[in-house]
Symmetry: C2
Subunit: 193 residues, 2 copies
Amino acid sequence: MSLRHALLGLLREGPKSGYDLLQMFKRSLHQTWPATQSQVYTELTKLADAGLLVVTAHGPRGRKEYTLTDAGLEELRRWMLETEPDRYPRSEALLRVFLLGALTRDEARDYLAWLGQKAAEDEVALTAFEDSIDWDHEDDLQLYGHMVVDFGKRLWVMSQEWADWAVAQIPAQAADDDPAAESGPPAKAAPPS
Amino acid sequence: MSLRHALLGLLREGPKSGYDLLQMFKRSLHQTWPATQSQVYTELTKLADAGLLVVTAHGPRGRKEYTLTDAGLEELRRWMLETEPDRYPRSEALLRVFLLGALTRDEARDYLAWLGQKAAEDEVALTAFEDSIDWDHEDDLQLYGHMVVDFGKRLWVMSQEWADWAVAQIPAQAADDDPAAESGPPAKAAPPS
DNA sequence: GCCCGACGTGTCAATTCTGAAATGTCGAAC
DNA sequence: GTTCGACATTTCAGAATTGACACGTCGGGC
């Protein structure tokens, strides 16, 4: 599981509480690796039981600050260096593209256009985020964080270009195109041309 | 869950067995939405229980061919039109970039270079796949399938450019850079300013 | 006639992930 | 002095996912 190692990694720059980590996920990692509350708190407990973390401070509202142990750092490095990452991101948005045949062509076009539009919005938001930060590339977390942000920007730019292209790929006319309206045997629609 | 709807979608073009569907996932959908054997067979049974599919033929080795019912098609359309897709692909490869601070800079550079190289290989493979098919854009499955393939190609091209850039972002010198080499008690490093 | 690779399905335990509910406290603003 | 939003944790049921095991059959090549 990757969440475990993400937590170890985030704790590298100093002690943090579950709440802190949750905020970090929400703010900086959400588009890459989302995490829920229950997941983070549960995992933190397990990591502490395994000796990869220790509680080093108790704060106001039952707040517990976890600190990375040597064993934790070692485990993180082992994972990074000795296990192979899954290189293929699972994309529900793209899966739906594959299944677009279940919709009319107008509906399919709408979906693709919507994807393009959302990509544009995401690009704007990410750019604003990037501009709002005074990147200090001496700091590892910022150096690598910036790389992830940059990847995101490129992804959204690419997605827009792709969506524009894809919309144009769908033939215009769509006479008896509704796949829900079945009449008789599933005869293929007459090829336009 | 999306797997359920992926199966419904694939069955739109005709009756298929679990084995057939598994092959389709392996061949065309693996990079977008992987599925295991147990998942497919289990889900098929559940979908049939729910009346979204029916078994319409029995073949040689206990082979069962499932056919999409009207209720199944309706459910697929409902999902496509009325539920919002998760637009953010979860990328373990990118998560690791975020955590690269746990490695030395040389190791980090190696990882980024490796990502770029794998992206290049994936691009080659996808292009070969694309060229091997005589795309018939009258066929919905091929039209939309081709869009997914094209997205993949763009993704790998973009990933290579990004990786090249990212490699160059890492400062060269790396004197006391090994985060595993700890000297003395786990005293926290002095917070920079 | 036999062997093997592809065909074909089913089930199980363990892990991971989602989503919600329950509970309570601190601090600032009004 | 009260109220409210942010802080903070724990727990749980249910769903999704993984990975392995177990079982059996058809067809072509030797």
